[in-house]
Amino acid sequence: MGTYILRRVLQMIPVLLGATFLIFAMVFALPGDPLAGKCGERPCPAAYAAAFEEKYNLNDPLPIQYGKYIGNLAQGDFGETYNGIKVSEQLKERYPVTAKLALMAILIETIIGIIAGVLTGIRKGGFLDNLVLVSTLVVISIPIFVIGGLAQYFLGVKWGLFPVTVTSGEATVYQLLLPAIVLGSLSVAYVARLTRTNLVENLRSDYVRTAIAKGLTKRRAIGLHALRNSLIPVITFIGFDFGALLGGAIVTESIFNIPGVGGYIFRSIRSRDGASVVGAVTVLVLVYLVVNLIVDLLYGLLDPRISHD
């Protein structure tokens, strides 16, 4: 187990380096000039442009720009955005907010999703099953900006149950609750359906029948044997979803004006702000790798046949 973890951690280094270079090159390859949009409808004054290009090394060829960037990164310097704001400070402020939001969303989707999945899985074809199937179908088919916009308008603006926007960096759990529910709603549907399908599948399998034949109560047979095996694909999905929620909550972030990472990356890409994109995505890649490692370790716990030695 120890060597396995060590090996996985060592593998992260080339992945990280490769990812940063690829992202850097992609931002570099985008058409247009970071300056062209900065000065409105007029060309930037020559002196301003020269100082700007000098400051951000825009005149260097790609490998040198990347070398300078990695050199600074190795010393913990993430560089500056084109607005002259330190990227590291932005990341420090934004990641906690985003992580909090993503964790709350994950918690909501895990708890509600798995409970709904189990309840529907053991009574296949019942009223609850149909209700969950139909309601998850509805949630899956409505785009998130509609759910978010409606939730904000009715629950926030009209009835005043939740704060309308977040805006501040020290977002409270209460402020983030509505966005987290919106963000988690889509995944709840997936988790519920994934759990249900797998549980139904496993309940029919030989080992469950054997367990029940041995005299195990139905509750133990489902809870201990069937559910554990059924959760493997669910855990995989949740692990992947956590990464996706960190960087991909763009729509929810913009509706509720949450100072998070998703919108930050999106805007940075639009303004060709390489330092911001690479900085934010590097951290994201790191989170992805760690979460995947945790998911892989969890497999072993859920199913002892999957061994890491």
């Binding site: 058409p31 247009g32 000039d33 970071p34 062209a36 949009g37 900065k38 000065c39 409105g40 409808e41 007029r42 060309p43 930037c44 004054p45 020559a46 002196a47 301003y48 442009a49 020269a50 100082a51 700007f52 290009e53 000098e54 005149n59 084109y82 607005n83 002259g84 704001i85 400070e89 932005q90 402020e93 904000q152 308008y153 926030g156 603006v157 005043g160 704060p163 309308v164 926007t165 805006t167 501040s168 960096g169 763009i250 729509v251 972030e253 913009s254 509706i255 509720f256 004006n257 100072p259 919108g263 999106f266 805007r267 639009r270 303004s271 060709r272």
Partner: protein, 551 residues
Amino acid sequence: MRGTTRTVAVAAMSAVALLAAGCGGGSSDDNTTPAEGQAGGEITVFGCNPQNPLVPQNTGETCGGDVLDQVFSKLVHYDADTAKPENDQAESIETEDNQNFTIKVKQGIKFHDGTELKAKNFVDAWNYAAYGPNGMYNGYFFEPVEGFGDLQCTGDGDDPCAGDGKPSAETLTGLAVVDDYTFTVKTTEKVSNLPVRLGYTAFAALPDAFFADPEAFGDKPIGTGPYKLDAWNKEQSIVLSKNADYAGDWAGKVDKITFKIYQEVDPAYNDVLANNLDIVTSIPASALIDDKYKSDLPERNAQKETGVIQTITFAPTKVDPNYADPKVRAAISMAIDRETINQQIFNNTRVPATGWVSPVVDGYKADQCGENCVYDPEKAKALLDEAGGFKGDKITLSYNADGGHKEWTEATCNSIKQALGVDCVATGVVDFATFRAQIGDEKMKGMFRTGWQMDYPSIENFLAPLLKTGASSNDGNYSNPEFDKLLDQAAAATDEAEANSLYQQAEALLAADMPQIPMYYGKTTMGWSDKVTGVKITAFGTVDYTQVSLK
């Protein structure tokens, strides 16, 4: 996402020349809320991310400009209603020949750090701004001052300021301190409207603290304005509090203004509906439909014309010769049904243009474009036939696809297609940066959308930077010696009325050449919460903070 909100939304709409202050003149629909209410208290206002450190000489967009406007007073203040420049920090600005100006500064004005404002604060700040290697965004405003050329980098390549490219001088020869409160300005050529320009942020004075540590200053600027900056929490909020020592005529009523930074206007609008935010300085498209904002915010909204113009520019003739004939250009202009497009696409949030100059400025004359800007499909078709038809296979109208321009450009093209019987295609370019790069590199053919937001309220600002031969924002490479000559004469005129009349004559020449098709004048719409009263819009589309108060 609609982008880096206002930067792209506004930037995309028009030049992000800084909105400096107020100016009326334009009609305002329901822009009168009686100024009652109590003094003191605090308000929150929609804000966006400043693009540069908060130094007036380096800020050219509204996000930083709205804040700097309150922190820095200038020599001249533009009246919120009439746009008339009035002396603020200046005791007097005198000239006899429009070339040598003597400026006297009022005594006893104090910066927020307690130091007194003196003549050298202006001279130092202006020299710093004009000096090429400092790379100040607003440096070009000092071009008219004598000696500007010697402060610019002359080298080529990556760093024009390195080695031999270093400027030969560090200070403008045209600026001289006479005594503590007097300095003189000498311009290279005659500039009749220099005093009008001095209200722009670029001309603000800087305290000694700036020169000691420019970087720290950019984080926490120090001016002499009615409000001082307490804190700039990056990407979250900017907090201003009342300057107790302010002795000028334009003090604010509230004690504290917090600019809450939003990435989008939609959530800000919802916050105003829920009374979580006091003023939103624009209305999202979703609330403009059927004037929804008027029922959402009854008696709590206002609209006013601002110094913004939207135009369509023709590619330079050497890039695309198909549009060279002025008759073709006029025919296209006549084929556009501006009124209907304004109603259907913009929900009447614009005003169809009848010339190249915004109605809010001094010197505006209506109908300068004449019948060329009046929708008349028959005449348009006849004019095109007279010119021998359109030579290319189709007319193109390019726009940046990230700025919400798809609908109106397509509607414009449909209008042209129906009237002229020539195919017209609205072509989206992926984003604003790429769009501007293609125009700058002269690779854009056909027609493309352009816009302009005034720097200072003068008719000159709508003509010289956009259409004079070789001007910095002359995207269509328009060149007309007669037009240039009239602009030069107007700049030399000592009488304001005479100058305006010469500028108007120059503008009238444009109707014959049609270098740009005037489309719309801009309007700003604002909404506010239950808690505030007295919200008024200046012609620069900013909030007039001398009037806003809590109920």
